[in-house]
């Protein structure tokens, strides 16, 4: 029995020790291991302390080296002398006496003040009674009280006089001590502040810091570790002590206190126990942290327009790629619903292109043009032929090619065509042999080998009236006559030939009916109508299966959705619902990798997928993915939203149609002004913005320019000529006079700004000053010449100002100088803070720069 009990006590002893050990383990775990921010904050505090100490030391050194120490010493000596004098016995006695007198006067003054108030009150009462009753008695009382008031005022003044005298005496006694003390203080102020900062830093203790946004239930504790994220100076390159990069864009527009961190960066903002948890790099956290340019995905959840948004260059690039490749043709993507199909109409393809060309093109568009927008669908030659048969069967019954050899070309005519090609500036939009195509957002076809692709007849008709073949084309209509057209076509066909082209059907071969059927089925399966208008398939999109968020097909549902998966909340799609298929285990099991892989190799998940290969490079893949992952189903409170201009216009009841109107709209549809120019939010940024052109430009200059659009700009920045006159190929005019009138009247009515004054403000008192000369002086003094050129001198960052007086209105220059970013926030010109007077001088000077 005894033995057993000792055995039990050993067991109990062991268990007690275990419990004790566990208790300590729990304490250690909770106080240290699960609170890594404590040591981070401690480290940051030390770094900051060191930095502050360094700053203090530097300031102290500077303070000493500037002879401030001696100055301080002499001041202190002076102060001591003053204080000694003041503290001497007789001075102290005098001082006490004087202050005693001051107290007596003070209380007399207070009594006097009280009496004065009282008497004034009584006076007012008497006045009221007198006005009401008009009794002589009241008037007398009034007069008497008036006398008393005067008396009181007199005695008050006397008291004040005495007080002043005594105070002067006291000042004599205290001497300059106060002033010296103030001086010492101000001398020390900088150093004292730095010392206070050091002390303040020492006093901080580790704590969880968070940004709480109550209405969205957010508590971002990131700053518990990232202590220096908002700091104005750099303390360390090491995480988590770095500063936020480019904070002048991101943090300044999205203050951390209002936005927190996870709105943009995702991750698990509440977590404090480990970096992996906080960054959301753990299982089942559906929003892992976004870093670097991928963070821009989040812009989409609040910003309606992302193209041109500062700091959103990556998604902006992605968005442009989506537009370029027309992803919205097959996929429902929010914000891209109203864009047109990107490919040309195929209704009459049989009259346009060579059969062999089309077959090659369908198999791999890259063999024709390296940077073709059309993706590769992995068609076999047989499939490509079937599709081509189907397309050709719409206009004919044969497979046929037309080849132009040197013998078919009229070389003289081609030579004339070359001049027209140049003057029409075709290379602004079209590339040939790797040249041109400067306007990168228009995506006009490459013409390097076009002579082997299309027929002369088709090309002739196309240039004559592009809209007849393709109503929504961006190609402007040039007003060439038939001879000019023939010359241009001859030049294009002779110059841009594919010497490797091997036509198989120079002898026409009849098309087989079953091949047409097969081709039609392929067109339907792969959804060619997503990008090309096809006769009889206009409604095709409507019968494509509806692919919902969950990726499940709802059988039998009548749908208006597109052939590809809807992408409106792809960024929130649960990872379990993404079908990794054959790639499972080969790429990371997360959303970004999935989307990238889908774009990189669209058929790699399963063989029977339909998505074609766009051959995007890794950077482009990332850009497109970043946009797609921005489409989530989170909703932010309205106060964070920045509406898209389309939405704003919709709210205001405007639309593109109303931006342009009347004859000008007709003209625009013809020569496509908005292919290059911008008006409001419509059009492109290739040529100057016309939103305020009516107020900005002088009418005479505009007229001249439209007639003769040759200003000194690089060749492919020049406005093309739309009219030619045939006299020896010499250029006679551009727009017709009536069209110029149309433009001018639209400028006057729609493109003016109330902001811009018609004339400059008159300056008074300046009859003697030569304002133009003053302006020139200012121009030289402020260094405008560094960026602007006048005559032969000056930089080329800003526009050439040589003849600016012919071109711009005075009102515009005057207003522009006040705030160069007013009309274009991205403008790089610094705001030099000119006064109104200076602006008038400068404007007068600039307006004096004329050609004649």
């Amino acid at each position: 029995m005894k033995q057993k009990s000792s055995y039990t006590s050993l067991l109990f002893a062991f268990l007690s020790l275990l419990l004790l050990g566990l208790t300590f383990w729990v304490i250690w775990k909770d106080e240290v291991q699960l609170r890594p921010w404590k040591s981070y904050q401690q480290e940051y505090k030390e770094l900051k302390g060191k930095k502050l100490q360094e700053e203090y030391d530097r300031a102290k050194k500077e303070f000493d080296s500037n002879g401030n120490a001696q100055k301080l010493e002499s001041l202190q000596a002076k102060l001591k002398a003053e204080e000694d004098f003041f503290n001497s016995r007789e001075v102290q006695e005098k001082y006490k006496k004087l202050t005693g007198q001051l107290d007596v006067i003070g209380s007399s003054l207070a009594q006097n003040q009280k009496k004065l108030q009282e008497t004034r009150g009584r006076f007012l009462e008497a006045e009221y009674l007198y006005i009401r009753d008009q009794k002589e008695h009241d008037k007398k009382v009034m007069q008497q009280l008036q006398g008393e008031i005067e008396e009181l005022k007199k005695s008050r003044d006397a008291l004040l006089e005495r007080k002043k005298g005594i105070e002067e005496n006291i000042d004599e006694l205290t001497g300059e001590a106060e002033a010296i003390r103030a001086e010492i203080m101000s001398l020390h102020k900088g150093l004292d502040e730095k010392l206070a900062a050091i002390k303040g830093n020492k006093r901080t203790s580790p704590e969880i810091r968070q940004i709480h946004i109550s209405d969205v239930g957010k508590a971002d504790r990131c700053i518990s570790c990232h202590a220096g994220i908002e700091s104005s100076y750099k303390l360390s390159e090491k995480q988590p002590f770095t500063r936020h990069p480019a904070s002048f864009i991101f943090l300044e527009n999205h203050p951390v206190s209002e936005y927190g961190c996870t709105f943009c960066h995702q991750g698990q903002g509440r977590a404090t126990t480990s970096p992996n948890k906080a960054h959301g790099w753990v299982d089942h956290w559906t929003e892992p942290m976004l870093r670097g340019s991928m963070t821009q995905s989040s812009c989409i959840s609040c910003h309606g327009d992302i193209e041109g948004l500062r700091g959103a260059e990556f998604i902006s690039k992605g968005s442009k790629l989506i537009k370029k490749y027309g992803c919205y043709g097959c996929h429902m993507i929010p914000g891209y619903e109203e864009l047109r199909e990107i490919g040309p109409v195929l209704a009459e393809a049989g009259t346009k292109v060579n059969y062999s060309w089309a077959v090659n093109w369908l198999q791999d568009p890259k063999t024709y043009y390296e940077a073709a927008r059309m993706p590769k669908f992995f068609f076999s030659k047989g499939e490509a032929e079937s599709i081509t048969d189907y397309l050709f069967s719409m206009t004919g019954t044969t497979r046929h090619d037309t080849l132009y050899t040197d013998d078919d070309i009229d070389w003289d005519l081609a030579e004339k065509g070359k001049a027209i090609w140049r003057q029409s500036r075709c290379n602004i939009c079209h590339t040939t042999n790797g040249k041109g195509g400067n306007h990168t957002e228009i995506h006009a076809p490459d013409l390097t080998k076009v002579g082997s692709k299309v027929t002369k007849e088709w090309l002739f008709n196309w240039i004559r009236d592009p809209k007849k073949y393709f109503p929504e084309t961006k190609m402007p209509r040039y007003r060439f006559n038939d001879q000019e057209l023939a010359a241009l076509v001859e030049y294009v066909v002779s110059e841009f030939q594919d010497w490797d082209f091997e036509p198989e059907y120079e002898e026409a071969v009849p098309i087989k009916a079953e091949s047409i059927e097969k081709g039609k089925a392929l067109v339907e399966k792969y959804g060619c109508f997503g990008c090309h208008k096809l006769k009889g398939m206009e409604e095709m999109q409507d019968i494509a299966p509806q692919l919902r968020r969950a990726g499940t097909t709802i059988e039998g549902a009548v749908s208006t959705d597109k052939i590809g998966a809807e992408l409106s909340s792809i960024g929130s799609k649960p990872i379990e619902l993404l079908d990794f298929g054959k790639m499972k285990g080969k790429i990371p099991h997360e959303r970004l990798s999935y989307v990238k892989q889908k774009l990189r190799a669209p058929r790699s998940y399963r063989d029977d997928l339909r998505m074609p290969d766009y051959r995007l490079n890794e950077d482009e893949l990332g850009a497109v993915s970043s946009v797609l992952l921005g489409f989530t189903d989170v909703s932010r409170p309205v106060r964070y939203k920045v509406l898209a201009y389309r939405e704003i216009e919709r709210l205001e009841g405007e639309s593109e149609r109303h931006i342009l109107s009347g004859d000008f709209e007709k003209l625009e549809k013809d020569i496509k002004c908005l292919n290059c120019h911008k008006i409001g939010n419509h059009g492109y940024n290739y040529a100057p913005d016309l939103a305020i052109a009516g107020s900005k430009l002088q009418e005479g200059w505009v007229r001249k320019f439209l007639k003769q659009p040759d200003i000194i700009r690089p060749m492919l920045k020049q406005m093309p000529r739309f009219n030619l006159d045939k006299q020896d190929g010499m250029i006679q005019g551009n727009l017709a006079d009536s069209e110029i009138e149309t433009v001018m009247s639209f400028f006057r009515s729609d493109l003016v700004s109330d902001d811009i004054p018609v004339s400059l403000p008159e300056l008074v008192d300046n009859g003697t000053v030569d304002q133009v000369l003053e302006g020139k002086r200012l121009y030289d003094k402020k260094g405008c010449v560094a960026c602007h050129q006048i005559g032969n001198a000056g930089g080329s960052v800003g526009p050439n100002l040589s003849f600016v007086g012919d071109r711009l209105t005075a009102g515009f220059i005057f207003k522009y100088l006040e705030d160069p970013q007013r009309y274009n926030p991205e403008n790089v010109e610094p705001n030099l803070g000119f006064t109104e007077r200076e602006r008038v001088y400068l404007t007068r000077y600039l307006m004096s720069l004329k050609q004649e």
């Binding site: 729990v26 909770d30 699960l34 969880i208 504790r221 509440r270 977590a271 126990t273």
Partner: protein, 251 residues
Amino acid sequence: MLDRIKKSVIWKSIFRRDYKDTPRNRALAIFGNIFMHLHPVKVRESALKLRFTWGMGGISLFSFIILTVTGFLLMFYYHPSVEKAYWDIKDLEFQVPYGIFLRNLHRWAGHFMVIVVWLHMFRVFMTGSYKSPRQFNWAIGVILLVLTMLLSFTGYLLPWDQLGYWAIVVGTNMAAGTPLLGFEGPFSEYLGITPYNDVRFAILGGSTVGGNALLRSYVWHCVVLPLVAVVLMAVHFWRVRKDGGISGPHS
């Protein structure tokens, strides 16, 4: 001094006897103490053997005490609302001092209690302790087992995470299949049972798992079920005493 305190009315009202080991004091110790009242008067030495009882009844009680204490503390940090519930649980982990310890203690003790209660029942069955005169206590025990399960089930929803949410969806859909009571069960159409008046509706406070379900879970979990369990446990222990203490190998 000490004498005076010991003779004071207050002292005597709390400590009603002295410590001399006399039969009278021993009896008074039992009479004067509610917990001792619940405890059997005598315990057989053979019944103390771990081999026989596994100590499962006592361990169940011990788990229940841990769960009560930790649960009580957890209530300080938890709001049973859709907006806050999940984040309160997250904050227990990330912000509340010893919060993760508290929560895990509650969670593991909960799992442990369910296992232990089952084992207790198993032991009672295997040793034949449910036989006369203990039939009534067996029945009480069965009810306590059901209460333990229900406590576990209602607590499952409270973190308001995917796991709990779907567990409750599945669990209450099973309830919807109950004959007569559930709208998906047999005979429901003859009785006019719909999703809006059946047993699932009563459990969830609605036809889907939402804020009402969360609140109901909370009230059942924190108030009603523990109270009923405490009362039945008192009865359970009282019956053990009345039925002649813990059953031994020979009785």
